[in-house]
């Protein structure tokens, strides 16, 4: 029986705590008597016979006819699937998407369906490369569909490739991929890493355009999503569900397939990174010391290559198919079962170790804007109830935060960093003054459509993503970050955690209470 997540009260005998620090680590001694560490649960048991579970889900869906009953000769079938941003790190081959898509295609073939398209539902993310697509769907599917133009990346800027399905009562445009919109059936293949993934967000966001996304990817929505991971208190969730209603009423039939994963995040020999520090054995301690020493001497590129080469041995814990909302209710419960950890009350300070990866830098560089988004957008929002840090408290992150950007993946991020953040870091002002010109920039549009660049507006979304955290906190400090970049983000640089706590004392006094969210593997706090 796996142990659930738990909260460790730090005392004098507590060993130093592991903090992620980009492509490296820091061991930090948290102040005894007033610090606590929220540890993730151990991995839930994985389903042993994945193929049987997939077949079971397709044949016995919730609130829907079995998939074979929805398939008929002459129909248009579109299989959409989550893009490279999920899961993190990428999973060991074979990817779950491959196994599910192969099962769906087998059923489609048996039903005589021959008009099938496969679409990577990447919204405004960068296009997936051939290697990434092959990893996601497998060589067999790739070779059968891609050469004939039947497996491709969603293109939200294709003037002939989008269809407006209608608007919500709140006036939100619902525009999705035209092929999907005109299909008799859309099968959506999801990998649910956190509670906000999946549901109507899969189609209403993954297959949407800027015209549609701007209705919920904005500062107002983000600030009124407390948190993203709590459907009942997420404006983002509500907007997607309103759009989902338009999709259900005016769009194609959607057969949703959602999967949940356990916490098996790190492959051998790095599994110990998921263990509690005092449980590391001598071999693991020696390995950590050696690894850290090696990493500290390694050039950034080499470190990046090592970390981005990691493939997670995730285990499947649930697969559910059928009607979107019914499926997602089950998925969410299962995600909570793995990730939710009860925590009593808030603290003055929240510390976060920011790792090398987030959804938007797979095989890429964690640039300063993504550091902000990962800390204040993702990790800060890993709560239900109340944030782990009190309003006006301090968030302390650890990350090198170098002024380094992937020139192919993140061109508009570079301009955002240089041209927007030098003017203001206020999300509202940024949205009003700059968003439109970036979103409609012809060059970014061209790079998004033909190269491997995130859409011009994407860095804005990253900034908005962290706007709730930014508004909530009195100060944000980055330990070990490049000072100039940290200041550009509007944050305060510090060399050590002790320095950071000293700096934080201006806001929270000299003996603040502290919570460290020991992420990853992912843990979500249920704050009472």
């Amino acid at each position: 029986m796996p142990r659930p997540g738990f909260v460790l009260e730090v005392d004098r005998s507590t060993p130093p705590t592991l903090f992620w620090h980009g492509e490296g680590f820091r061991m930090e001694k948290l102040p005894a008597g007033r610090s606590r560490v929220v540890y993730p649960a151990e991995p839930l048991p994985a389903i042993k016979d994945v193929d049987a579970a997939i077949r079971q889900a397709l044949l016995h869906p919730v609130d829907s006819d079995p998939l074979p009953a929805l398939l008929f000769p002459g129909m248009k079938l579109t299989i959409a699937f989550d893009d490279v941003s999920l899961p993190l790190p990428p999973m060991k081959a074979p990817d779950l998407r491959q196994r599910i898509i192969e099962a769906v295609l087998d059923l489609a073939a048996a039903a005589g369906v021959d008009d099938v398209h496969l679409i990577a539902a990447l919204a405004l993310h960068r296009r997936m490369t051939e290697a990434e697509l092959r990893h996601a769907v497998g060589d067999r599917v790739y070779d059968a569909f891609a050469p004939r133009g039947l497996l491709y990346n969603h293109d939200a800027e294709d003037p002939d490739g989008m269809a407006l399905l209608g608007t919500t009562p709140q006036g939100e445009d619902v525009e999705i991929n035209k092929r999907a919109a005109e299909s008799d059936l859309v099968v959506y293949v999801n990998i649910n890493l956190v509670a906000m993934d999946g549901g109507w967000k899969s189609t209403a966001t993954g297959l949407a355009s800027y015209r549609s996304l701007r209705h919920h990817h904005n500062v107002h929505t983000m600030r009124h999503s407390t948190s993203f991971m709590d459907q009942h208190r997420s404006e983002l969730h509500k907007s997607n569900w309103r759009m989902g209603k338009v999709l259900r009423d005016s769009g194609p039939k959607v057969f949703q397939i959602e999967t949940t994963l356990n916490n098996e995040t790190f492959p051998s020999p790095f599994e110990f990174l998921a263990k509690r520090e005092w449980e590391w054995n001598a071999r693991e301690r020696a390995m950590f010391v050696g690894m850290n020493a090696g990493l500290n001497r390694m050039p950034a590129k080499a470190k990046r290559r090592i970390f981005h080469g990691l493939r997670a041995p995730y285990g499947l814990t649930t697969i559910t198919a059928g009607e979107v909302e019914a499926v997602h209710r089950i998925t969410t419960e299962r995600v909570y079962e793995q990730q939710l950890t009860p925590v009593e009350g808030q603290t003055d300070v929240l510390t976060l170790g920011i790792p090398y990866i987030c959804p938007y830098n797979v095989n890429s560089i964690m640039n300063p804007i993504l550091v902000m988004c990962t800390g204040l957008g993702y990790f800060f929002n890993m709560y239900r109830g109340r944030p782990l840090v009190r309003e006006g408290g301090v968030v302390i992150m650890t990350h090198p935060t170098t002024n380094e950007f992937h020139p192919v993946h993140h061109p508009s991020y570079i301009d955002f960093f240089e041209q927007v953040l030098t003017e203001t870091t206020d999300p509202v002002e940024i949205e009003q003054r700059f968003e439109k010109s970036f979103a409609e920039d012809e060059w970014y549009r061209h790079l998004y459509r033909t190269s491997y660049a995130y859409h011009g507006v994407h860095p804005f979304y990253m900034w908005y993503w962290g706007s709730h955290g930014m508004q909530h906190c009195g100060k944000v400090i980055i330990v070990g970050g490049e000072a100039k970049s940290v200041r550009r983000l509007g944050f305060t640089p510090a060399s050590t955690l002790d320095d950071a706590l000293e700096i934080a004392s201006d806001v929270v006094g000299s003996s603040p209470t502290i919570t460290h969210l020991h992420n990853p593997p992912l843990v979500m706090a249920d704050v009472r």
């Binding site: 570079i414 240089e418 041209q419 060059w443």
Partner: protein, 393 residues
């Protein structure tokens, strides 16, 4: 009289060239510049008078000369030994404050008839810089007959003198000559209303050109590449719409012009680029960000540079120089550049650009300061002659 004099000493020029590569401005200590006691220059003829400098600026061209980097192009149009200093506010023979317009054109040289350029009022284009009653010298401060502002006395022709209004401080007055260069450059750039203009460099020339653009042209957006924090602050104050680091200029211009790109090459670009640095890198950058058929105006004094000109050819861009001043046409009216400069110095408060004053005896420190002005938070460094004893005898 006390003067900083520059003599033709090739070995000293070589030493200055070498040492200044390690520490710009250090040529003042190792090069051919020396503080000397010499006789005041004789009056070259009718219309000339002895004047007493009050303030005299240190210009980029002076630094280049002192550090031994100036182009050999100038050899036929300078005469040694000379006293540098062409940005001068002085007391004339009648005790009035005057600003010197230093170009030594046909009138000052007593050349008759005057050359076509001088006849047209384009003094900077004078074709007789090595002829007439004076030894060669493109300007006061580069001619052995006239002396220069880095001394307690010099001579000037009446045609060179502009009376300083009473409400002008000496600091404002010493900014008139560099501002006149900037006014000429801004007009030479031929900016059309609404144009996207990029200015490379935010030293004295860059900042005064920015001010001139706003007063005498009608640019749409002005983006300025400035290296140092104080330069960036001043650029904002003087009206730059965008102030960026030099390495960010290309990306700014791309976005502001709505350009696409081939790799790092823009498909479009700025309508006008004004290069106020004049280095190999700045000219290359200027050519990289100008739009097809756009214009790059070279204001900063270059020397020998190596350039890739394929884009100039392919994009049919213009590369034009902007030197000195004379007569300008502003909104259909002909005006003397210096008159426009007086107006601009006052309206834009350009006296604030004078950052530091030094006595002649501190020349080495002054020149090193001027050479590192941007980095040290300064803009214009000047010699202050007002307290020199012999001047006030």
């Amino acid at each position: 009289m006390k003067a900083l004099q520059l003599d033709r000493k090739p070995a000293r020029f070589v030493a200055a060239n070498l040492v200044s590569r390690l520490a710009p401005g250090r040529g003042a200590s190792y090069g051919p510049l020396a503080l000397t006691d010499i006789d005041p220059p004789e009056l070259p003829g009718a219309g000339w008078q002895l004047i007493r400098p009050r303030l005299s600026g240190i210009c980029g061209s002076d630094l280049s000369t002192v550090d031994g980097h100036a182009s050999r192009y100038f050899e036929p149009i300078v005469s040694f030994p000379f006293v540098p200093g062409h940005e001068v506010v002085a007391d004339d023979a009648d005790g009035r404050r005057v600003v010197v317009e230093p170009v030594l054109g046909c009138v000052a040289r007593n050349v008759t008839p005057v050359c076509p350029s001088c006849a047209a009022g384009h003094l900077g284009g004078c074709e007789r810089l090595a002829f007439g009653d004076l030894q060669p010298g493109l300007q006061t401060g580069f001619c052995c007959d006239t002396g220069g502002g880095w001394s307690t006395f010099m001579v000037a022709h009446e045609s060179q003198l502009h009376a300083v209004p009473d409400d002008f401080s000496d600091e404002a007055a010493v900014m008139v000559e560099p501002t006149a260069c900037a006014v000429h450059a801004a007009l030479r750039a031929a900016v059309e209303p609404g144009d996207l203009v990029a200015i490379v460099g935010a030293g004295t020339l860059g900042l005064t050109t920015l001010a001139a653009l706003h007063r005498y042209a009608d640019p749409g957006t002005v983006v300025m590449a400035a290296k140092h924090p104080e330069q960036r602050r001043l650029a904002k104050e003087l009206g730059a719409d965008v102030v960026c680091e030099p390495n960010e200029l290309g990306r700014w211009v791309r976005r502001l012009s709505g350009s696409l790109a081939y790799g790092n090459q823009l498909t479009g670009g700025a309508d006008r680029v004004i290069d106020c640095v004049g280095s190999e890198a700045s000219i290359a950058e200027s050519l990289a960000v100008v739009r097809p058929r756009g214009r790059v105006t070279l204001v900063g004094m270059p020397a020998s540079v190596r350039l890739e000109l394929t884009s100039l050819w392919h994009r049919e861009a213009e590369l034009v120089g902007a030197y000195a001043y004379g007569t300008e046409t502003v909104r259909g009216v002909e005006r003397r550049t210096f008159d426009l400069a007086f107006e601009l110095v006052q309206s834009a408060g350009l006296e604030r650009l004078v950052s530091a004053r030094y006595r002649l005896g501190d020349a080495a420190t002054a020149i090193e300061h001027a050479a590192a002005a941007g980095r040290r938070g300064a803009v214009k460094v000047v010699f202050d002659l007002r307290m020199e004893k012999e001047r006030n005898r």
